[in-house]
C-alpha cells in the first residue's frame, strides 16, 4: 500500500496504481455502496475527459471489483502539498499559475474537478498531474466552477496560509489565460464567499 487517502486505499503493483474505495462502517450500506460506485465510475470517466482536454492525468487502465476499484498508471512525482511551502517563490508562483491553466482548461471543457486541492495535484518533472476526480462532474454551471475555485483557495488558506494571496493570484493568472469566461467565474466566487460568511442567512 502506498497511500491511504480519506476514502481509498492506494496500492502500487508494478506500474499500476490500484485505488480501492473502502467501505465505511459509519454510514448505511445503501449510501456507502452508492457513493463508492458512482465516485469510482466518475473518476474513471472524468480522468479520461480531462486527458482529452489536454490536462496531465494518469491514464485509466481498468474499473472493477463491483465498480469500487479503479486502476491507473503511476505518476512518479511529489504531491504539491508536500513541496509548495518549501519551494522558491519563483517555483511556487509558476506551479500555481500552471494549476490555474489546467483548471482553466478543465472548466472551458465543462469539467468540474470537485476536490481541487494541493493534495490532488502531483508535480512530476515539469508537469502538474491532476488526480482524484471522484467528486467531480460535467457541468456548465458558473456556480460549480466557482465552487471549484473556492475549494482550491481554501486548500491554500488551510495548508499554505503564508502564501495564500500570492498563490491564488498566480492561479488566477493562469486560469484567465486558458478560460475566456474567467470573469464570470471569479465574480461568482466572490458571491459564494460572501454567502458563506453572511451569518444571518444561515438562520
Amino acid at each position: 500500500m502506498i497511500g491511504k487517502g480519506a476514502e481509498a486505499n492506494i496500492y502500487l503493483s508494478g506500474e499500476r496504481v490500484i485505488k480501492n474505495r473502502i467501505s465505511k462502517a459509519y454510514r448505511v450500506r445503501e449510501l456507502d455502496e452508492a457513493l463508492r460506485k458512482t465516485r469510482t465510475k466518475r473518476e474513471a470517466r472524468l480522468i479520461s475527459l480531462a486527458r482529452r482536454a489536454g490536462v496531465a492525468t494518469p491514464f485509466i487502465l481498468d474499473v472493477n471489483n463491483p465498480d469500487t476499484t479503479v486502476e491507473m498508471s503511476f505518476v512518479e512525482g511529489l504531491q504539491i502539498k508536500k513541496m509548495l511551502n518549501k519551494a522558491s517563490k519563483k517555483d511556487r508562483l509558476r506551479i500555481c499559475r500552471e494549476i490555474g491553466r489546467s483548471t482553466g482548461r478543465l472548466h472551458s471543457n465543462n469539467i468540474i474537478h470537485g476536490d481541487l486541492t494541493t493534495s490532488n495535484t502531483i508535480l512530476a518533472g515539469d508537469k502538474i498531474y491532476f488526480i482524484d476526480f471522484g467528486l467531480g462532474e460535467v457541468s456548465e454551471a458558473v456556480e460549480d466552477k466557482g465552487v471549484d475555485l473556492l475549494v482550491f483557495k481554501k486548500s491554500l488558506r488551510s495548508t499554505h496560509y503564508k502564501f495564500e494571496k500570492e498563490c491564488f493570484k498566480a492561479f488566477v493568472e493562469g486560469y484567465s489565460r486558458e478560460y475566456k469566461a474567467y470573469r464570470d467565474i471569479l465574480e461568482r466566487l466572490r458571491i459564494i464567499e460572501l454567502r458563506g460568511r453572511y451569518f444571518t442567512e444561515r438562520f
Binding site: K24, D115, V151, I192, R195, G196
Partner: protein
C-alpha cells in the same frame, strides 16, 4: 499565575442569552442560559429584545449561583461574533457597561473558538480536529501555527438550521433536533441529495428534497434519511480533514453534537483512523456564557487587552482571524 482571576462571560450571538462565571483555574462557578423561544424561525430584533429584557435577571442569577457579587468579577468577556447584529450588540453593550462601571478589563471573544476551548478544557483534548455543528455554524477546524484554521464549512445553511427548518415545516414541534432524532430511530433509508465539495458542504438542496419527500414518504423514514445523509456528509469531510491535518483527536462541539447518531458515526470514523473521540458535557455543547468566560481568561492571561474601541461587534467574525496567543 499569581491570582485566581474570575471572569464573567456574556453570550448573545443568536436566540440564547448566557451568563457564565469561570475562574482562571478552569472551574465553572455558574452557567445560566435563557432561551428566546423560536416561533417560525429566529427574528434578530425580537431575540435582541428578549436578551435586553432578560440580561439583568440572567446576570444576577449567575452571580447568585456562584455566590459572589459583581465586585468580585475581575474580567468581563462577551461574544463579539459571528452572529446576529442586534443580539451581538446587546451582549456588547452590557459588557462595556460593566467594564466601565466596575473599571475592569473587557475582552471580546470569537464565539466559535469559545466552543473549541471549553471543549478542550472539559475533555482534556490536547490538539483536536473539531467538528463544530450548531444552528448557525458548521465548521471543521484544527489548530496549526498560531491559528484555528477552517478546513471545511457549509456553503449555505448550517446543519442545525437544516434540521430545525425541516421540523418546523413538518410541524413536528420543538426542540426540532431532538424530535427528528427520535423519529429517525424507527425509520429506514431512501436516497436524498448528498452534496460535498472538497471539504465544504451544502445542505439547502437536501432540506428542499426532504420537505418534498415528506409528501409521499413516512415521516420516520424522512427523518432517518435526512439524518443519515447529512451526518454522513459531515463525517466524510471531518474524515478528510483528519487525514489532511494529521491530528490524533476528534472532538465534537455545538448544539447538534448532542445527537447520539452523530456521536456514534464520528466515533466509528475516529476508530478507523486510530484517533481519540471526545465530546464535551451536554451543558457546554449549546451556546453558553461559561465558554465565553473561559476564552476571556485564556486571552487575558496570554496578554490580550481590548480597549472599548476594539469591542465593536463583528457579525462575520471568522475563526481564522484570531491570533491564538494562549497555545
Amino acid at each position: 499565575m499569581e491570582r485566581n482571576l474570575i471572569c464573567l462571560g456574556i453570550e448573545g450571538t443568536a436566540e440564547k442569552l448566557g451568563a457564565g462565571i469561570v475562574s482562571s483555574s478552569g472551574k465553572i462557578l455558574a452557567n445560566v442560559v435563557k432561551y428566546h423561544s423560536l416561533v417560525g424561525g429566529i427574528h434578530p430584533r425580537e431575540a435582541a429584545q428578549h436578551h435586553a429584557e432578560n440580561m439583568k435577571a440572567t446576570l444576577e442569577q449567575a452571580l447568585q449561583n456562584a455566590s459572589i457579587g459583581l465586585g468580585d468579577i475581575d474580567i468581563v468577556a462577551f461574544s463579539q461574533g459571528p452572529g446576529l447584529g442586534p443580539c451581538l450588540r446587546v451582549a456588547a453593550v452590557s459588557a462595556r457597561t460593566i467594564s466601565l462601571a466596575k473599571k475592569i478589563p473587557i475582552i471580546g471573544v470569537n464565539h466559535c473558538i469559545a466552543h473549541i476551548e471549553i471543549g478542550r478544557l472539559l475533555t482534556k483534548a490536547k490538539d483536536p480536529l473539531t467538528l463544530y455543528v450548531s444552528g448557525g455554524n458548521t465548521q471543521v477546524t484544527a489548530y496549526t501555527e498560531g491559528r484555528y484554521r477552517v478546513f471545511g464549512e457549509t456553503l449555505d445553511i448550517a446543519i442545525g438550521n437544516c434540521i430545525d427548518q425541516f421540523a418546523r415545516e413538518m410541524k413536528l414541534g420543538s426542540p426540532g433536533g431532538a424530535i427528528v432524532e427520535k423519529l429517525a430511530r424507527s425509520g429506514s433509508y431512501f436516497e436524498l441529495p448528498y452534496v460535498v465539495k472538497g471539504m465544504d458542504l451544502s445542505f439547502s438542496g437536501l432540506l428542499t428534497a426532504a420537505i418534498e419527500a415528506a409528501k409521499k414518504q413516512k415521516i420516520e423514514d424522512v427523518c432517518y434519511s435526512l439524518q443519515e445523509t447529512a451526518f454522513s456528509m459531515l463525517v466524510e469531510v471531518t474524515e478528510r480533514a483528519l487525514a489532511h491535518a494529521e491530528k490524533k483527536e476528534v472532538m465534537l462541539a455545538g448544539g447538534v453534537a448532542v445527537n447520539r447518531r452523530l456521536q456514534e458515526m464520528i466515533a466509528l470514523m475516529a476508530r478507523e483512523h486510530n484517533a481519540k473521540f471526545l465530546v464535551p458535557p451536554k451543558n457546554v455543547l449549546g451556546d453558553n456564557g461559561a465558554m465565553i468566560a473561559w476564552l476571556g481568561i485564556l486571552m487575558y492571561d496570554s496578554g490580550v487587552r481590548h480597549k472599548i474601541e476594539d469591542t465593536m461587534v463583528k457579525q462575520r467574525f471568522r475563526t481564522d482571524e484570531v491570533e491564538v496567543k494562549w497555545r
